[in-house]
Symmetry: C2
Subunit: 294 residues, 2 copies
């Protein structure tokens, strides 16, 4: 039986829903000793401290990482270059660094440019979990239970570092997979980034209508669920869309073509085409749900 997995000191850069829940899950699993947090707003860090998510607020990222054994970058992907550049000279030589960014090619490019000597101990990771809430106050210990975490290690990534990150996420209750970064980005452009753009655009379009207030007053469960993720952080999703631009544009165009097809069928009162499209979508969703249950 392997020795119990344990991180001595964890530094969380960005103690939001994702970073905060990671710390809470590890603590619940007794897989972490001490947690230090650093972030942009004092108020959020105070919440994290009060909720016991972190043991200590570090004065800055440099101080936080200096004697940390594991550094989690929980910031929006647009901030990765700056954070990496700041911490690179100060990370302990044994420390493992990982991130929780929703895009991987862009984060890896930043790591190559800014992490220097620590690059081999950087394990690109994407926990596929979240809610439409954000901040430390939204964090909870079971967020990752049964969820997927994708690792996209590179040729130079240390196998020991990959094993450490895998065990950390498994301690959080997650299932860990590996993908190539480009494959990861194409998949999540389709199943995550596009749906967010769709939801933001749908609410945005309705909000622009003259009778927007009345519209929302008469809306029901269909709209509510369809746009739940439009409650997500605009800053985080702005970064993701820009970071994964090419893959996102490709699936966005495919979606807009599908919408055009539906529009054409409606305009032409072509009931047969419309039903065929809706039926194909319903069948695909049903197959997907069945596959997920098994």
């Amino acid at each position: 039986m392997p020795a119990k997995f344990r991180i001595g000191k964890l530094a969380v850069i960005g103690v939001g829903l994702i970073g905060g829940s990671f710390a809470m899950a590890l603590r619940k699993a007794r897989a972490v000793g001490r947690v230090v947090g650093v972030g942009r707003t004092r108020r959020n860090l105070a919440t994290a401290l009060r909720l016991g998510i972190i043991d200590e607020i570090a004065v800055d990222a440099v101080t936080a990482v200096r004697d940390a054994d594991f550094v989690l970058l929980g910031v929006p992907v647009g901030q990765m270059p700056e954070v990496m550049a700041r911490i690179a000279p100060h990370v302990a030589r044994h420390a493992v660094i990982s991130d929780a960014g929703s895009t991987k090619q862009d984060v890896i490019a930043s790591a190559r440019r800014f992490l220097k000597d620590s690059l081999g101990r950087f394990v690109p990771a994407h926990p596929v979990a979240g809610t439409e809430m954000n901040g430390a106050g939204a964090a909870f210990a079971t967020l990752y239970r049964g969820r997927n975490v994708i690792l996209t290690p590179q040729a130079e990534t240390s196998r020991t570092a990959v094993a450490t990150v895998r065990r950390a996420w498994e301690a959080c209750g997650a299932r860990v997979f590996r993908l190539r970064p480009d494959e990861h980005d194409a998949i999540f452009a389709a199943v995550s980034h596009l749906p967010h753009v769709v939801a933001f655009a749908l609410v945005g379009a309705l909000a622009r209508r003259r009778n927007a207030r009345k519209l929302f007053a008469f809306s029901a469960g269909g709209l509510r669920d369809t746009v739940r993720i439009a409650g997500s952080s605009p800053e985080m999703w702005r970064d993701i869309c820009i970071s994964n631009r090419d893959a996102l544009l490709e699936v966005l165009d495919a979606y807009m073509e599908e919408l055009e097809r539906a529009r054409g069928a409606i305009a032409a009162t072509d009931a047969a085409t419309l039903e065929r499209m809706f039926e194909a979508a319903r069948a695909a969703r049903a197959r997907w749900l069945v596959a997920r249950r098994s």
Copy 2:
């Protein structure tokens, strides 16, 4: 205190989620005596009978309505003309007729054309409730509790008939509102019909991708909620889209423009515009949720 509201015999034409739940809710409220059901498939009617949703399967719509006090048309809106034409000569002279269609101008046009002498006792109605499931097996007695039902009576609609339909829906636990048919159709094009087209198109576009199976395997809660309503009946939604074509095309175009704006910002890596759009959407959703709670 008014006399207790009670329907002697209810005829449900189309015993699906909507018509079945109406019958169940009335029975639970002890507001109905006998329920007869008629529909296209024997199997669904047998389910309705077994579940106690209906007391009797009528051989056809004509037989069902002959001595009914209340006739509920629970069929997809595309079938309204045919059903109305069939039952019109046979509905009792005191009977109230109502529907549960998601579009109103089109249903009213059918009523004017086919209901003849019964037109004054026809109360166009839209219960704003449902799930992505359908059929009698999906019906449940509390579907309408706290939900809105919109009535769109016309100049010739009898006030007694309107009062009866209002009391029936109130007995189901619903809140009853009145709107003009054109206003109704514009509102629901935006908050219900458009989101369904969006959800069907999103699943449809993903299902066409080469790696569709892998995509769905890695999808998470965001996509799942966004496309829940793509599980809805293709036939029903085909009919709604055609029936409410003009209002739907107008909001669909507004949505596609919003998507184009987002696409342009992503393509131009215009982070500021993208964040502004996402923030406006998030704020609108937040205001909407606050308004709904109060």
